[in-house]
């Protein structure tokens, strides 16, 4: 334990291209861009499914299917499929991000469609009956009322992505996972433990920040 503390607090470990700061930023970059891409795909799709009720069965079974694949397996599947087609330095980076995106889509999608689905049908009916267009009902009623579940889905995706981004290091990409891989290679266990600890702390911090944003954006009328 003391070794882990020494590793974490020694200034030299924080700087440089393989220092903690740099790895942390890399980790955040991978996680952030994967989450952003996943959200861009899953939220509109989820809203559409929730609003229209179409494609629900397909979405649910696909999402469950993806969830049942182990993360590491998913990464290697994507790598095998994509690597032959990518010929520059991103040969490992892109498959890693794709794997993380695929991982993040199910919870975000489920949050979005479940969120819209659970909106009180009477509120929807009243909205239409008062003269809101279908589009206005979606943006002014369904989306604001779906936010708590949408945030729930996004937060669980974020936790999963931050944790899983670690395994990207197994295919020689950066991020905090490097400390685990490199630590293993050098038999430097305090480095490994320190890296794992950092991933955990990062996940908690990200979730706390998202919880704060949720508090700001979700109407107090929706808190039970």
């Amino acid at each position: 334990m003391i070794d882990v503390w020494t590793w974490l607090t020694s200034g030299a470990n924080w700087v440089g291209t393989d220092g903690i700061w740099h790895r942390l930023v890399q980790h955040l970059e991978y996680s952030g861009s994967s989450l952003a891409i996943a959200a861009l795909i899953a939220i509109p799709l989820g809203l559409w499914i929730g609003h229209t009720g179409h494609g629900r069965v397909v979405a649910v079974s696909l999402a469950n299917g993806i969830r049942s694949i182990p993360s590491l397996g998913l990464l290697f599947i994507v790598l095998l499929l994509l690597a032959p087609h990518i010929h520059n330095g991103d040969a490992f980076l892109i498959p890693s991000i794709v794997a993380l995106v695929v991982l993040a889509i199910p919870p975000i999608l489920a949050g979005a469609y479940a969120g819209v689905e659970q909106v009180d049908p009477a509120a929807r009916d009243a909205g239409l009956g008062m003269g809101l267009t279908a589009w206005q009902v979606l943006w002014r009623i369904e989306v604001p009322c779906a936010l708590p579940l949408m945030f729930g889905g996004f937060r669980s995706a974020a936790l999963q992505v931050v944790a899983t981004a670690t395994i990207a290091a197994t295919v020689s990409v950066g991020g905090l996972g490097r400390f685990l891989i490199d630590g293993l290679a050098y038999r430097d266990y305090s480095m490994m433990a320190g890296g794992a600890l950092l991933v955990g702390l990062l996940a908690i911090t990200v979730d706390a920040v998202l919880a704060g944003v949720q508090r700001l954006l979700v109407s107090p009328g929706l808190r039970s």
Binding site: D120, G129, G131, P220
Partner: protein, 363 residues
């Protein structure tokens, strides 16, 4: 004026919800659709704001076919209140009420100020304006629903079982308040209910519907009670029709002078005034009746604990039913009649009221 012209609705599963409905809803009056569950009331109502388009036939508002109008702009001119309130949970009460005015381009501040005034008008404490719907009682939610429907001052108001989900006492208050508002506003109201008493109470005219979406009878409440069109209507309108019909008949009943005593007077004085009668009427200091006492059982003073309060009071302008009920419920058999301020006018007995009923019938 809203006209249903042979409007028929067949749902995709071939259910005929409304069959060739033809009726006219007069401007400025309350028309109630009443009938058993599943008879097509909601479907009929929702044709008016184009939430449902008739499979055949038409619905016209002021001679214009609803089907030919843009749905959203049509609906912004028609207030809509539903049973489950349908309030937007993420918006405060005042913002719920401001919804349609803001859709129509009224600025937020102006819309909110108008909404505050409207909340008071429908009987809500303005202090509730900042609350969210889940912080209100069911009755309060329905009031907000009514305010929200009235916010853009639409000439037409559609109400689908607006008061069914609240307890009977609150329901009666809501009905009273609606009638009071309507006396001021004179909207064209279409009101759906499955409660015949509510229909008779609220409606200027009542459309009784039967399963399959047939119109069984369209008539005033008094006429429904006195002249049901067929067995179904008679059955649906229910028992005690003769007695309930008195609720729609008024007649001049001359009141009798009644000896009285003021609360707090001496028992001695009460016995003197009663002159041997079994019951003596007690008034408060403002000459408002408070109950009856038995003079022979009084102690030193006429006190509140001596009062029998079983008798109902009738206003002098009340229908005959209220007068008869006052007489029948009074321990002395003499029904107490008061003026609008609640001060005593005199009493009537059941025989007086029945005589008037007989006379009205003969006329």
């Amino acid at each position: 004026m809203i006209v249903f012209d042979r409007a028929t609705v067949v749902y995709p599963d071939q259910t005929v919800a409304v069959d060739q409905l033809s009726l006219t809803v007069p401007t400025g009056q309350v028309t109630v659709f009443v009938g058993p569950s599943g008879c097509g009331k909601t479907t009929s109502l929702r044709m008016i704001n184009k939430m449902i388009i008739p499979t055949s036939g038409r619905v016209l508002i002021d001679d214009v076919d609803v089907a030919k109008q843009d749905a959203a702009s049509l609906r912004r001119g028609i207030g809509y209140v539903i049973q489950q309130s349908g309030l937007f949970p993420h918006r405060t009460v005042v913002d719920n009420v401001s919804t349609v005015p803001m859709l129509l381009g009224v600025g937020r501040r102006r819309a909110r100020a108008d909404s505050m005034a409207l909340l008071e008008r429908v009987g809500l404490d303005p202090a509730l304006a900042r609350r969210y719907p889940n912080q209100l009682s069911g009755g309060q939610q329905q009031r907000v629903g009514v305010a929200r429907a009235l916010a853009a001052d639409p000439p037409i108001l559609l109400m689908d079982e607006p008061f069914s989900a609240v307890d009977p006492i609150v329901r009666q208050q809501l009905q009273d308040d609606l009638l009071r508002l309507q006396a001021d506003l004179g909207k064209t109201i279409v009101f759906v209910t499955h409660d015949i008493d509510e229909a008779l109470r609220i409606g200027d005219q009542v459309a009784v519907m039967r399963t399959g979406g047939y119109l069984a009878q369209l008539a005033s409440p008094a006429e429904l009670l006195s002249d049901p069109a067929d067995e179904f209507v008679a059955e649906f309108v229910g028992r005690d029709r003769g007695y309930r019909a008195l609720g729609f008949v008024s007649g001049e009943v001359a009141t009798r002078l009644e000896p009285t005593i003021t609360l707090g007077s001496s028992g001695e004085a009460a016995r003197r005034i009663a002159h041997g009668a079994d019951w003596l009427l007690v008034l408060d200091a403002d000459r408002r009746p408070v109950g009856w006492v038995r003079p022979d059982r009084l102690g030193a003073k006429v006190s509140a604990s001596d009062l029998n309060r079983s008798g109902t009071l009738a206003h002098d302008a009340a229908p005959l039913r209220a007068l008869l009920d006052a007489a029948l419920s009074s321990p002395s058999g003499r029904g107490v009649v008061v003026d609008a301020a609640g001060t005593l006018l005199g009493t009537v007995n059941a025989g007086d009221v029945v005589a008037v009923i007989e006379r009205e019938r003969g006329a």
